[in-house]
Symmetry: C2
Subunit: 247 residues, 2 copies
DNA sequence: GGCGCCACGTTTGCATGCACTTTCGCCATG
DNA sequence: CATGGCGAAAGTGCATGCAAACGTGGCGCC
């Protein structure tokens, strides 16, 4: 019955999902940069699982476009070309238009509050480390998608948002997410006000602006020890050191 | 370089992909119906591979939403609910609008010919077995997406088109794809003529019509999920526990 | 006769092992 | 000094083995 379900949940760690999420986070916060190598066994060792699991996780991320898988070769964090980046942002704009269309005038007071709270966190993080800002900004868009209640939309927007982060890591200049806060606020205001046209226009402009800021120059990749970078992300996933990790 | 790539291709059977494609086709042609069980070892035996590969393929299809994976349980072909079906068609319309917007007025003569040739095949198959018609109609939409040259769009449209086939298998009445041929022709004509507005309108109408024919009402649906069938009967019999399982 | 429990077969979860491929350092050669 | 080939090391591709979990049939108990 209920207890059995709970027991099943407790004994169902879904380690593949945990690793995927950890890697996604690492990518979104730029701990992992495009081109970084992700060998199966190093990954497995880091997360305390066998290659089988690590391999599965890589397969998943590969199908999401975050990781490049080539046969007989080490998986690497995807390195989108400039064209792909433009394409990504373009499709993303289309998808997020769908999101705001569904949301305009339909947000509950609680949802608006939740969004504004998130934006407040963005504002507070503005002075702090850039990766956090990027993560928070991305989470805003994903939270928006989640509020549509459409599983497909949620999946696609999340996926493409992560991939866009990847392109930002490649092409953007340092202070590229400055105005995101006010733009996010405006979008929420338009949504709360039920002005669908204004909301879509704002969202379009917002993404255009992000893409414009992002796709101007080309940055240089900086090689380093990827597995060390992963350490903090492995902490709440690996069985080592009993450090319980919520989430 | 080119030679290396070719060599890699030759020695790269990519059996996971082969199995995925086979299953996708089986689903699209209704050889596999929602709820059908897909045990790993049966699959592996059928395709001459080990469970490892079959498992990988199932994971892939699971992330595409074609297969339902529950921990420690046999994978089954996905059984979308009526709400999910509506959502699917809605998002699909949005995506395909993006496709026609990109394509309007940009199709080469060869591409138009290719599309019309495909539609001709659809017309010829009209008298034949229904699964073939469905497959051809779906391939039209996928081919359209492919012509955008946008990998993301291609992936999303393909995926969602396959999933829509699944909902058709569940909810549609026998002769539901009759008018698809003429509607497809009109869309191609509008695209070739460069009339983006008309093309999007036609595509909207087309998908609306397909969804309408398919999803007429919840009442006409013929759900195969026995538990769902029983739900109304359980209402005055069961104590409470309206809890729909899963996910 | 109905109900609950247990034990068995089936199926998945995961790790490991082996074969094959790629990569890279090293040495011989021009 | 540059270069080309070779061999070891590293890494992936895949199958198989074992343990745990699920579902089911049978049995005993009420």
């Amino acid at each position: 019955m209920k207890a059995d379900v709970d027991a099943a949940r407790r004994t169902a760690p879904d380690r593949v999902g945990v690793i995927c999420q950890a890697l996604r986070r690492a990518i979104i916060e730029r701990a992992l940069a495009p081109g970084d190598r992700l060998p199966e066994d190093a990954l497995g060792e880091r997360f305390g699982v066998s290659r089988t699991i690590a391999r599965h996780a890589l397969g998943q991320l590969g199908s999401e476009g975050l990781v490049e898988l080539r046969r007989n070769r080490i998986a690497v964090v995807a390195t989108p070309s400039w064209d792909e980046a433009r394409d990504l942002f373009d499709v993303r704009a289309g998808l997020e238009r769908l999101v705001v269309k569904r949301l305009a005038g339909r947000l509950t007071r609680a949802q608006v509050a939740e969004l504004e709270e998130g934006i407040e966190r963005e504002r507070q993080a503005k002075g702090g480390p850039e990766p956090i800002s990027i993560r928070l900004a991305t989470e805003f868009h994903i939270r928006l998608a989640e509020m549509t209640g459409s599983p497909v939309l949620i999946r696609y927007v999340s996926e493409i948002a992560y991939r866009c982060c990847l392109t930002l890591a490649l092409f953007s200049r340092p202070h590229s997410s400055d105005c995101a806060v006010s733009e996010h606020l405006e979008i929420v205001a338009a949504l709360a006000g039920g002005d669908a046209d204004r909301a879509t226009a704002l969202m379009d402009h917002h993404l255009d602006a992000v893409a414009g800021r992002a796709l101007l120059s080309e940055a240089t990749a900086k090689p380093r020890n990827i597995m060390d970078v992963l350490a903090p992300y492995a902490l709440d996933a690996a069985p080592s050191k009993g450090g319980r990790g919520g989430r």
